[in-house]
Amino acid sequence: MNAINIDYLGEKFNQLQSSNPENIISNIRKEGFNTFNKAGLPGFKNEEWKYTKISTLFNKEYHLSSERNSEIKLADVDAVRLPGFKNADELVFANGKFVPELSTIRSLENQLIVLPLEEAAKGIYKELVEAHLDKSSRFINDGIHALNTSFIYGGVFIYVNKNQVLDRPVYLYHISDARENHTLSQPRSLVFVDKSAKLQLVESYTTIGSMDSFTNEVIEIVVDTNAIVEYYKIQNDVITASQVGTTHIRQIGKSYVHAFTVSLNGGMIRNNTDIIMEAAGNEAHMYGLYLLKGRTHVDNHTLVDNTQPNCFSNEFYKGVIDDYATGVFSGKIFVRPDAQKTNAYQSNKNILLSDTATVNTKPQLEIFADDVKCSHGCTVGQLDEEALYYLRTRGIGKEHAQSMLLQAFASDIVEQIKVEALRNHVEELITERLSVN
């Protein structure tokens, strides 16, 4: 387990438990810490973590802030706001803790409720929190997930009221302060989208300072009948910023989910994107785009768990990998015995731009029902030489032609961003990344 300081974490855990005594959350934390102590950090022998050696990040001491106080100021937030923010609800997390004072809720209270998780666990949303917080631990029992659970404090509860189709997206800004210390941030969020409601949720990550930051995030999203959820994750942080992010989406009623992950910069990144189909007739779409350079490592682990009949899911991930960067795609689809008439599709396409770039792609289908349609496919290749030659014979320079082809490769994924301001923003980032001067 390398240099991870168990004594330090144990001390922090005990402090947290004693200052926040017995309630729903402290019991969950306790279970989490037990699991963490037993499991430890996922090692090389854990098949799910084979390519993403997260324990190598723990060869240094991280400062784990257990309080809401931080040095993050409004000016820091101003520097990270995403385009379209004036028409968005903005939630700020500093070192993993939700900071209401820095956040701006523009939606009305009958539409959207945003509360500190502890507060929600006491008031009228107690039952929802009790019923849904930490359901992800049933699916993910590794130590890194348990580490987040051990320290659930300062998280957020987001509730979209019945029939409320929010006309503005909710932006979550995660800011890690790594100016003084290596920082471990562990944001925890529970989102409940009630019947016939619609939510667009966007997450982005920024590290301030030159020390290392490690974000170990868990967000659980519960989608009720006829609700629509769009989820966007934008990873464009510094090379010293690493992350394990779990997005655990449960569709508890017949509903629609559209999840999108774009990874452009960072250190070691692991994204767990889970869709649990708990009701018949669910529909989910998952898109991912990773453009990697330097030594960035991005691992997209997806899970679609079909437990009920007539569900549809489609996954489409694309990557362009340059320099010494590495990409991983692992797509697991379960079709349980009752999940007849499941349609589940999966595709992962990669372009390697250098001899030292790597991608590992692994589809995994486990099917226990007999009347299903499932498919998967993956490709790893170089740029299309014929297309490159064609463009060059028209007078377009080689590098420019390459850039055009890569942008074209990425374009059908980027089109899946339905929040216009965000789509334009990501398009600009990609154009900037891929263009030549």
Partner: protein, 255 residues
Amino acid sequence: MLLSIKNIHASIEGKQILKGINLDIQPGEVHAIMGPNGGGKSTLASVLAGREEYEVTEGSVEFDGKDMLELSPEDRAREGLFLAFQYPVEIPGVSTTNFIKTAVNEKRKYHGQEPIDAVSFLKMMKQKIELVEIDKSLLSRSINEGFSGGEKKRNEIFQMAMLEPKLAILDETDSGLDIDALRIVANGVNKLRTPERGIIVITHYQRLLDYLQPDFVHVLVNGRIVKSGTKELALELEEKGYDFIKDEISLTAAL
């Protein structure tokens, strides 16, 4: 002299395809290159366009006073060479209009000119669309994606019109076209004939040449031009097939 090919030998993967081609083209001339499959017609087009898989082992090509073999494919295009592909490539995700605009501007940049402004570009597009009778809606789509065979060929001629080359090579532009599509494509090419522009037409068949009326016809067999003549040679080939030339060659060889 627009183009002067001298004793070109070229090979791919160690296999010799061109075995000493000589050809001179003056501005305004249309040259047809005919010949049986595997004779080297498309190889000649690829060598001229700069396809990197082909290795030129001997000979020289001078294009408008420049050593063409020294230039990259893009620089050849910027100097005024255009190749209409036998099999135009489909490129999903790149809009045809943006692609052509980029190509026009890269050429302008090479010649030290400012990028074309939006109004002039649209005007130019409109004019060339009418000239080559291409369906406007194709141009907002990705390059050749889902185009029919005829639409792809028409798109090649449209690109030629937009890029205004000094020398155009049409590599089997007639293949896979029905009579109507052939007529439209041939009319487009005829409208692009100018006293300055040279055109090389590579074809198997007489019917495209009926429309284009070439100044010269060359027969390429086994990596060499074995016979050159005027347009009447094409008619003779149509009538007698390539065998009569092959007979002539073996006769000459025997002598």
